[in-house]
């Protein structure tokens, strides 16, 4: 198991700094954010979602958030797997998928006036074969989760199942996208606070 705390590393928190001391007061949260990362990227069982697939989806998700140092970390991660050949493909898809969220529709009713339209992303036709059916479906689902989670519907689960994802694979895929949405925000928030305290 890795011993370096990923959030501290990405947020630039130095041992002995005031943010290090503050994070130490939430030791269980700090330790388990790290364990979440390890459970997703160094799992005991990768049979429903391979390590290369995990790293591929991660680079796409983080790329959409536009945090350069976090993106560099996940780019290196993908480059170290069997999916290394997909780095450029994913970066091209990130460029196509980049937008601002959250947007999407509320259940029809009084909230409908708050509905906000936005990009409904699909993988480009000429990159589908390089990615394969499973990963193409995973990227489309990941984009939905990143930018318009309130649009999610049971049909999206069916799309993943028909692309070859198992129920367990869908749970881990969802956790991976949702965890990264957490991780990148903690990193960005702590980095901002660190800069304000410098």
């Amino acid at each position: 198991m890795s011993t370096t705390d990923i959030i501290d590393t990405l947020a630039g928190i130095e041992p002995g700094s005031s943010l290090d001391a503050i994070r130490a007061k939430r030791a269980q949260a700090r330790e388990n954010a790290q364990k979440s990362y390890l459970a997703l990227f160094e799992p005991v069982d990768a049979s429903d979602f391979s390590l290369a697939e995990r790293a591929t989806v991660a680079l796409f998700v983080i790329g959409l958030h536009g945090e350069p140092n976090v993106t560099a970390f996940y780019r290196a991660k993908l480059a170290a797997t069997d999916g290394a050949g997909l780095v450029e493909t994913i970066e091209a898809e990130v460029t196509r998928g980049r937008t601002s969220g959250p947007y999407g529709a509320f259940p029809a009713g009084p909230l409908s006036i708050e509905n906000k339209a936005g990009l409904v992303y699909g993988v480009s036709a000429d990159r589908k074969s390089a990615l394969g059916t499973r990963l193409a479906a995973a990227l489309e689902h990941a984009h939905l989760l990143v930018f318009r989670p309130r649009d999610a519907a049971s049909a999206d689960m069916k799309a993943l199942l028909s692309a070859g994802w198992s129920n367990t694979g869908i749970v881990t895929l969802s956790q991976l996208v949702a965890f990264l949405s957490f991780q990148v925000r903690v990193v960005s928030g702590l980095r901002t606070l660190g800069a304000a305290s410098a």
């Binding site: 949260a29 601002s100 989670p149 049971s154 749970v171 991780q183 925000r185 606070l193």
Partner: protein, 194 residues
Amino acid sequence: MSAANTVNPPVVFTQDELGWVAWIDPLPETELTERHFAGLVDRARAKSEYFRLLVRDPEVLEARTKTDKDIFYNTADGLPRAERELAAAATSRYNGCIYCASVHARFASTYSKRRDDVQRLLDEGIGADLGERWNAVVKASVALAATPTAFDQDNIEELRRAGLDDAEIVDVINGASFFNWANRLMLSLGESTK
């Protein structure tokens, strides 16, 4: 897929208790092993469809649950529980998770005794005027929830002006960030029902 024809989705944000129905199959209670119970952390969670679905990946669920509990329940030297729940409710209001907002709005009301203000957040949305301190917490949570995130020095200054120290600001960052995790699971693996 279970009980798909009995779902009655709420169409407004509410502090009422709601149910939640999965779109893919949770593990049946009879198939749970010790590995799954370790993932559930609290054995009673085996009764919940949501947790029996997430426990398909027990190691991730266990780490996620322990992260969640420390961020929200460990109030030593930090932000009061009410304001952590406010951050969770504001994030959920902005992302559009009616179920998550209902749970954490109730907690925010319970711990703050400001039920009407919490209801205004739900009714009017993230622009509701809830006083300097709560406005700063809501605004910071909303900025963090944007993709790409819009959280910046102005949010930090506003939180500091409202009286939060750096440890409390870290609690806001953790609580709001965590709900960007929770909202995406709740919204995409099933739906809420009245």
